[in-house]
Amino acid sequence: MAVDKNDLNNLPRLLLPCVRCGQCRSVCPVFLAKGVESDSPRGRMTLVRALLEGKLKPSDLLNEKLQQCLLCRTCVMECPSGVHVDRVIIAAREKLAEKKGIPLKKKVITRWLLPNLNRLAAFMPAAALLEGIVAVRVSGGYYRPRLNLPLVGKRLLPSVGGKRPEFLTSSTGGSFSASSAGRRVVFFTGCMTNMAYPRVAGAVVEVLRRHGVEVVIPKELVCCGLPMLAAGDRESFLRVREENIKVFKKYPGLAIITACASCGSTLKEYYAGGIEGKVYDFTEFLLGEVDFQPPRGVVERKITYHDPCHLRKAQQIKEQPRRLLKSIPGVQYQEVKEPDRCCGFGGTFSLSFPDLSQEIGITKVQALMDTGADTVVTACPGCMLQLADGLYNRQSAAAVMHVAEVLAAAYRAEERQN
């Protein structure tokens, strides 16, 4: 169901069901890390209601508390009364932004950087030259900044200098079709995949082509808009949404594939304009829309899987990635404790609150390491970045991969066998 959720005027009704039972305290990653009631979803709901009723005035602390939500929806899954905490938070941030404006750092990201990301791809080769200067190369194709960099701090960064699939480098000049037979789909790559993990996009295309699917990646697509929504910047969100919908309209009737849980949930929930019911996560599409051919090539890996919040909690996609991974010969699958526990990334949350983001991530990373897996697989490039950073910080040698990458590796192995 894709609807235009403008919840600002709806806030009183959205807040009404909260009976303040506190069950959200038992699961909220931010509350579990900080332990203060105002960091629990129940506390945040109270703050929003007090703000609406004029009992509290906007203040720095109130603002910080409302920004310090990952929008992971763990509480939404847990809430007995069905409070849409994420929607309340988004609307409340919009309200705060109306009063106090959006901080410059976020503005730079939501108004300039993300809407223009596809145009910036042209500068990637130049940026790649700087990699070795500002950062130290570490294994897995990542760099560790030597100093606190603007926006990203000292977070592990994927190399931008690696080989980019042809269709992504061409995103600055013409769309690309990957096959000519069978079904056609639009692939919405998204910012994280485009900039940080082009290898994931490559794998997605490779796997879809194996199934006779023609993949179109329109060059004009921009950010899905979730960072803008999360920042309370609806105006910018509506702008990018309109741009994207304009592009989708050029491909009427085609399914839209995402391999990013966050992009997928945003397209499914916050978009309209004729794409309702046509958006599929990559794993969902493979198992539901085409005749999935399990790979015959062997991938010798001990794998565990992390459920991205925006896939499992927002899109209710839990089994598909697991089924795909288990279908690969040679894969030894080990379920992790609390597989749907948030990794702490939260998109711009990790930029605004890097220390808290990392602290929340530690529990997740430790659980993943405890499985003894050599490969941590997930289905969201945001989670991939966070997990790679966390694993590196804890001296783990485990690789981080997208489901599509493991599948692509298996098909490649199959070809080699033949």
Partner: protein, 470 residues
């Protein structure tokens, strides 16, 4: 407002980072689940997060010296304003004291700090084959300290009783700052009659007599197996008779739960997959023990139920067990969904009446629902007569709030008229203080004298439980 000098002294004890002074922060400690706390603005002047007994003792000493109210708080999951600082002052947040201090399982006991969450304790005990039996619906979030303060229980109290039966001893900081240990200063004994039962005095004292900082509690081996009998009744009376007949049949299920028509409807609306049939009431009987025993008890209960209804099912299949319990599990949550634009409120939600009176009480509550034109979803622990009535209103509507207050009052008065109590497991706090004179009689006077003795300056959770009198 707190004196600057006192604030400074408290900051020296716990560190400034553990003193929450900002209004937004304090606002989040102004409530529990009760309707009363929701419609008032009882914000503490300061929230202090403590980690040690020594910190608690120093703060109480200071508060006593400066005559500032102190209200202990765990997770704030209560329903009677027990942890709400309605006179301002200091809210003492004990949720950070959440460690298990020792496992002494050969001796059937553990020692814990008050901030540990109930489910976390049982999670830690399970691998050893033990559990702490009282099982409140708020298991995932409520703290043991809160359970001790309110003598909490839950579904399994039919067989396993309430929290007080499991408390062997307590470390308590008195309002004047002294630290005492009840149940024997150095005791690890499972029972003792040395001295007054001070443990019993503090359990259920709702944070008015002292702050519990350490709990020595008894645990039991986890039963090998559980089974469930579900029966649907066309008449409320028949359900009550079935329960009595089961006790007469010398059976003691671990839980006997009832959902009336309203509750079944709510659960069905929320989870249609439950496929609940049309009936006036459904009863769920849980039995536990050895595999042979479980089968025997379940079959016998089913047999007795068949004297009253033909719609009886029993299972020991964990999957089916989970599905059937799910109906009871979701009802509290589902209550608020029976009316669009409204929510469940906690008022008149915890009466306890003699078991045989339960069907009559359920009928009366349905009548009150019609009288006030407020949907009420009712369910509860029929095995001990404890009923949870959930009125559903629009909390933005002042008229509805006034109406539901009257409704709550009628429910409470009905319970007293039935020789029951206004609260079976949630507590008195502020929401039921007005009934204590009638309910307790002269005992209330003795309670007041005890309060005066231990808390001469009335600084600890003042004004709760009707302890101040007229």
């Amino acid at each position: 407002m707190l004196a600057q000098e006192l604030l400074k002294k408290i900051q020296d004890v716990v560190g400034p980072e553990n003193c929450l002074r900002d209004e937004a922060d304090r606002f989040c400690y102004a409530f529990d689940s009760s309707l009363l706390s929701q419609i008032n603005n009882w914000v503490p002047d300061l929230v202090v997060r403590v980690k040690t007994t020594e910190q608690v003792a120093t703060i109480l000493k200071l508060a006593n010296e400066y005559r500032v109210p102190v209200v202990p708080r765990g997770a704030g999951t209560g329903q009677c304003c027990g942890s709400v600082a309605w006179r301002g002052g200091i809210t003492l947040d004990l949720s950070g004291m959440n460690q298990i201090l020792s496992f002494d399982l050969e001796n059937l006991q553990v020692v814990v700090q008050p901030g540990i969450v109930h489910a976390e304790l049982n999670k830690a005990l399970a691998p050893h084959g033990f559990f702490f039996p009282p099982d409140p619906g708020s298991t995932k979030m409520c703290t043991l300290g809160g359970m001790v303060a309110f003598n909490s229980s839950g579904q399994r109290s039919v067989k396993y009783g309430t929290t007080k039966q499991y408390i062997l001893g307590l470390e308590v900081v008195l309002p004047t700052g002294e630290v005492i240990t009840t149940g024997g200063a150095k005791s690890r004994a499972l029972k003792s009659v040395a001295g007054y039962d001070l443990t019993g005095l503090f359990v259920g004292s709702e944070g008015t007599l002292g702050v519990v900082t350490r709990i020595r509690l008894k645990v039991l081996p986890i039963p090998e197996k559980r089974g469930l009998v579900v029966a649907f009744f066309d008449e409320l009376e028949a359900s009550g008779k079935a329960v009595v007949q089961i006790f007469r049949g010398r059976l003691l299920p671990s839980a006997i739960e009832i959902m009336d028509r309203t509750a079944m409807k709510a659960a069905g609306m929320y989870k249609p997959d439950l496929n609940l049939p049309d009936a006036e009431a459904m009863l769920l009987f849980e039995v536990d023990g050895s595999p042979v025993d479980v089968t025997y008890q379940a079959q016998k209960i089913a047999e007795i139920c068949r004297q009253f209804t033909q719609r009886v099912e029993w299972t020991d299949d964990p999957k089916r067990l989970g599905e059937l319990w799910a109906a009871r599990g979701v009802v509290g949550a589902a209550a608020g969904r029976v009316k669009e634009g409204a929510t469940r409120v906690y008022i008149g939600e915890d009466i306890c009446v003699p078991v045989v009176m339960v069907p009559q009480a359920l009928k009366k509550i349905q009548e009150l629902s019609v009288k006030y034109n407020i949907p009420i979803v009712t369910y509860g622990h029929i095995g001990d007569g404890n009923l949870h009535a959930a009125p559903v209103i629009n909390t933005y509507d002042q008229e509805e709030i006034e109406k539901v207050k009257k409704l709550g009052d009628e429910i409470h008065r009905m319970a007293l008229a039935m020789e029951g109590t206004t609260t079976g497991e949630h507590g008195v706090g502020l929401t039921r203080a007005q009934y204590m004179e009638e309910e307790l009689g002269l005992s209330l006077d003795v309670m007041r004298r005890i309060k005066k003795l231990l808390d001469p300056n009335n600084i600890l959770n003042p004004g709760k439980m009707a302890l101040e009198g007229e």
